[in-house]
Symmetry: C2
Subunit: 322 residues, 2 copies
């Protein structure tokens, strides 16, 4: 096993590669949505996720209970991407010195709502004073058939759950001083962890999967790198959230490009064998209540080619250290 | 099972009680060093720990690799307090925008050194930009005989590993503008996770145990509250770190009071049956390489009574929200 994680390009991922090189046998693989831990007959999936006021959100945008839901849903999304069910989470929370006890409790109620919505509970935590709201959530689940980022084969269909760009529309609005639409705000504030969808896909042949946190533009490259395949994504097929249409037009960007360049939708990107078709996608929608749309194909080769109206397009993804 | 965790007094613990009351069945017990999770025949122990620059340490005090060791050792200490062995940890790290890649890698090398020193590895993580160095470490271990904070009985001996006050001497030095002695600095910077000691004690009859992070003054109250016993602690018996003697004298405080009022030593406080005596403690020291000292007795009743030269003394413990 190579000690260097197979991740896409970006400063953040260069840093993870540097860490893996330095740690060698003191570290595991570090290139999947979750760490996988065999315990007896079970395989546990674990993932940790850090959200910071001023970096991931601003206090003016979100009420404490909404902060809690959002950070927990974002963390749980990594279990969804592994096809895992949820046991629970641990919450390490830093609260500003001037925050009231009510705000902290409300934030933890949002965390509790999110984890209870997918059958888990708050197992433990840590509290501290902090310069701004700080939430480090560690989720733990059980993966009967873990689906890694590696595993896609040339010829597989590439599919996405739900619609993209809604959370990005809210963020773009706030950052340019507009009030986001209710729909856009809801996409940012209340993402649904796709646990049921992830388990369904794991049980129906998913070969590789990840969740779209940094945006399709960046995250698709991780799936390609981990699976050692190329991806050809037809942006015209990408389902665009209603809220993203107006936001994209206002910025003079094609809506699917806007949807693919903005992250935090926490939908799943999944490689399924070629025989998985529209009939299976209809069944998925009926059973999971979310659409599943084919947006591309895995190919021999490497990297990701994004096509818009038949022409190649260079897409940006989010990078914390860019 | 009462949903209200049995913790000692303090604003931080009032907040945990308020959270538990609000979350009800959405949360587990929340009053032990670790969450305990039965998986097949195994019991896993999990704990999460948040350390922040400017709150838990200042950048001028510590090199990045030292930050990494210290935060990992502090987190691993919760596994020691449960009598667990170490599987590994997940590291959610926030790095300041102006930190070099080398600093982040060095910090993670410190984390890797600490977890490898007790047989575990870095299983996963998350990286983000942050206002200051932020480390949320979640540790996972296996507890064959979990030792909770609850379980001490009236008549049990109360024992402590190692010596106390060294880390506090460094902290008190830095905060008053002095350069701490090399010994004091080492106690703060390089605490040893007492994994082997915790497992030995779990295997030799420990009834209740916790690690001293906030100081004996505060932490002893948690053990008393969880076990529903009183504790009588004879401070004259508390083993005081050499570095703490000078720090206490300079401040006009009795050394055992200084040692008990300062935290972050990450030694273990343990209740053992009355028949556990000096002969067993000698064996512990030979096998684990650390002293074990009897400092008191569990009694019928509640609360903690600290005695210094036969007189009752009110002690302070550290509280993040005081």
């Amino acid at each position: 096993v190579s000690p260097i994680p197979s991740l896409g390009p970006g400063v953040e991922f260069d840093r993870i590669r540097a860490i893996a090189r330095a740690l060698r046998e003191r570290a595991g693989p570090l290139d999947d949505d979750c760490a996988l831990l065999p315990v007896g007959d079970a395989t546990l999936a674990l993932s940790t996720d850090l959200s910071l006021q001023g970096v991931h959100f601003r206090r003016e945008w979100l009420e404490p209970r909404e902060i809690g839901w959002r950070v927990a849903a974002a963390a749980l999304s990594d279990l969804a991407a592994e096809g895992a069910s949820v046991i629970g989470l641990l919450a390490a929370i830093g609260a500003p010195a001037d925050a009231g006890e009510g705000e902290l409790t409300a934030l933890m109620e949002g965390v509790g709502d999110a984890v209870a919505s997918v059958g888990g509970s708050v197992l433990g935590g840590d509290l501290s004073r902090a310069p701004g709201w700080t939430a480090a959530l560690t989720v733990i689940g059980r993966a009967e058939r873990p689906v890694r980022r590696a595993g896609a084969c040339a010829g597989d269909g590439i599919w996405v759950t739900g619609a993209l760009g809604g959370a990005g529309a809210a963020l773009a609005g706030w950052l340019s001083g507009e009030m986001p639409s209710a729909e856009a705000r809801r996409a940012f504030v209340h993402p649904e962890p796709r646990i049921e969808a992830g388990r369904w896909l794991a049980a129906h042949g998913a070969r590789a999967m990840l969740d779209l946190s940094d945006g399709l533009g960046g995250d698709a490259r991780h799936l390609a790198a981990a699976s050692r395949v190329g991806l050809e994504i037809e942006l015209d097929r990408v389902p665009v959230a209603g809220a993203a249409l107006a936001a994209a037009r206002r910025r003079g960007v094609a809506p699917p490009q806007f949807a693919a360049e903005n992250g935090e939708d926490y939908e799943l990107l999944v490689a399924l064998p070629a025989e998985f078709g529209d009939r299976e996608a209809d069944r998925f929608r009926r059973e999971c209540g979310v659409p599943l749309t084919r947006i591309g194909t895995a190919t021999a080769g490497d990297g990701v080619r994004f096509l818009l109206a038949g022409r190649s397009l260079a897409l940006a993804g989010f990078d914390h250290f860019r």
